[in-house]
């Protein structure tokens, strides 16, 4: 008994059959005595199809109209889901982002939520109905225009509603069983994580774990929302993402999981004069391109040359833009040359217990060394160690690290044995 927010992604709403299946699950949750708010994404590939149409009519689509176009996707899925629920005899009412009170700033395509006032959603619940809300969208009070929240926006909508309605849990439904210690397609021995802190989840998401978006996890962490990541294709318990209170004693595993990211490239600025302010000059320039840089390494200059090399990683999609900006500044910056490498892989080891356990880095480096895998860059936070290797060694790397930290499941059949119960 409680208030549950459930979010269903496009893969759970791919066609009429899927929508009917999801409707059944929602009605079961309601019949168990819970108040239920459902947040939906667009059906299956709808968003991609709409983007494709937009590209055909206008090579460069502008924010306001593109947002208007894309939000049609969630309207379709929410209306269909409400109909499916009603045909099961349960009352349901669907709301657009603006009807659900999600007001945002005016940044089309990547709007930030400024206020959540789900008055009509609350009223629907009070009337005994299930409330269906279109994910990914809001509206700007100043312009009266429809906005979208950007990537992972539906997760953010769900978490924001869960926070505003003081929900007991925000269930994120997907097509996998939860968060795993590593990608099961790469590491067959990967285990589903039953419970993880939002702090660790943030590091895993930032390091490339795809199931949850950083922004939604951050929002959940800030507002104390418990997430439950689970599959819409079975009734298994998934992964709980919790927010332990200050001073609360949590049994922390040393390592929660290993994440891999193959979407980044490395730029090396070769032969940078080793004078104060040079790095600042370079990264101010890079920042002005809006590129999202991640790891940074600067080697020491040798006395002989007085020159240093600076390397950093960034999303491959930002590569060309940043290279051009650097090239254009070559005269002012005074470096020697640029190297671009898109054959890198990033591996991150995440665990809150790392804080109080010495020797984690040593064990990581040893495992990789013994497997003959070369480490090119290293970066650490309090609960994460990331290393960059060659892209073609990354799968082997994640397997040996997973094993070295005792994450492998003992009984594979038990883990991967079935999807239902």
């Amino acid at each position: 008994m409680g208030l549950i927010v459930q979010k269903y992604g496009g893969s759970s709403l791919a066609d009429a059959e899927s929508i009917k299946r999801v409707a059944k699950r929602i009605v079961e949750t309601r019949k168990a005595g819970n108040e239920v708010v459902v947040v939906v994404s667009a059906m299956g590939d709808t968003t991609d199809e709409l983007l494709d149409l937009a590209e055909q009519v206008a090579p460069i689509a502008t924010g306001r109209e593109l947002d208007m176009l894309l939000t049609a996707g969630e309207r379709i899925s929410m209306a269909l889901l409400a109909m499916a629920i009603k045909s099961l005899g349960q009352e349901a009412r669907s709301y657009t982002g603006s009807q659900a009170g999600l007001s945002t700033d005016a940044r089309h395509g990547s709007a930030r939520i400024v206020e959540v006032a789900p008055i009509r959603v609350r009223a629907a619940l009070d009337a005994g109905a299930i409330a269906i809300v279109a994910g990914f969208q809001g509206f700007n009070r100043g312009t009266g225009d429809i906005t979208t929240l950007g990537r992972g926006g539906s997760d953010t909508t769900a978490v924001a509603l869960a926070a505003a309605l003081d929900a007991d849990v925000c269930e994120i439904y997907t097509d996998v069983d939860g968060i795993f210690t590593a990608d099961p397609r790469v590491v067959p021995a990967a285990r589903k994580i039953d419970r993880i802190t939002s702090e660790e989840m943030l590091e895993l998401a930032a390091a490339g774990a795809k199931v949850l978006y950083i922004r939604a996890v951050e929002y959940a962490r800030r507002h104390g929302v418990t997430l439950h990541v689970r599959s819409s294709f079975n009734n298994n318990e998934g992964t709980l993402v919790v927010n332990p209170k200050e001073g609360e004693i949590v049994e922390e595993s040393i390592i929660s999981g290993v994440a891999v990211d193959l979407s980044e490239a490395k730029i090396t600025v070769v032969g940078v004069p080793d004078v104060p302010g040079k790095a600042a000059q370079i990264f101010t320039l890079v920042a002005s391109t809006d590129a999202n840089i991640d790891m940074i390494v600067q080697n020491v200059s040798t006395a002989a040359t007085g020159l240093a090399d600076i390397s950093f990683t960034l999303p491959k999609s930002d590569g060309a833009r940043v290279l051009k900006a650097l090239e254009d500044s070559k005269d002012q910056t005074g470096f020697h040359s640029l190297q671009y490498d898109d054959q890198i892989g990033k591996l991150a080891l995440v665990g809150a217990g790392m804080r109080t356990n010495a020797g984690v880095s040593a064990r990581l480096f040893t495992a990789l060394f013994e497997a003959g895998i070369n480490i090119e860059m290293i970066s650490t936070s309090e609960i994460r160690i990331s290393v960059v290797t060659r892209a073609d060694t990354i799968n082997e790397a994640v397997r040996v690290v997973h094993s070295a930290f005792g994450l492998d499941a003992e009984d594979l059949a038990k883990v991967h044995g079935g999807t239902g119960r």
Copy 2:
């Protein structure tokens, strides 16, 4: 120079190419110095596809959710059209029904417009932009819910905006060249009508001419909006639907056109006791089923039996419902039996000049008689004569009538010779 409202139907917006073609035409109208407001329907078959999905998830979809679902269609086309126009270098802004200030009552699926306050549309025009408005939809101020206007709703939206903005003309774009004296697929000699009064147009639309919906014509008539029905595939002048002012002298043709309707069926209630109030009892019952009955004929009872037969026509889609209601009332109503006939065709001859020209009915009946076509029912208004014949004789009927009233084009090649100029 002026303010032009243009409405494009689904067939003019079938795909990305069509949208780009329409965008070009709109930009040309703007560049000629006009303020332009565009009303769009959903692309091609979008509405049918959405209805199909709805049927798959819920056999009986309810109004509110169905309206939310269907209105996604116009959002998609309006956003794409705005993008296409912008990519031609002209400023465009798209508005949903509610953003365009179309408030309606709360009757989902067939809402009536209660107020049109296109404040944002007017502001967009003042800023030099082209305003794109989603047709077919509005919102109810009381509930805050999205509504739809029912069949032909986009035409109604266009006319309502034209009235509220005091537009010079409301152009209805379609895939034919205008209103014809008869359906050119049936009567090859049919001519495009250059100019017709809204009164005549109303009768033609009511009699089955499909190009314009009655409701939009009524709205245009009431608010003095001039309609221009034309093709989006060429630049030919179409048909002007005008509202001559009281006392204004208009040269009225005796006959404007011949319309045909094959969508109706005939129900005959056989052996009704000829006592006062029986017809009222039967039609009160029929009205309670919300069926839209059209022609009614009652024969005289013979003194011998004291029984009469009552026949009426109604849309085939209402047939089963009305038959059942009548059957259920058989004991109270006391009729003998019911006959259902869905093989009828209705032909209507419309013309404002009919008022002052005697002999029109005589000429009509003679033409049909000479062609060996039997007339089963007759009904007349001030400017229309309708007859019911067998469905399989209706095409022959419309050809002989078209010819008998001198409507045939003299030079077929001139009429059907080309689509461009």
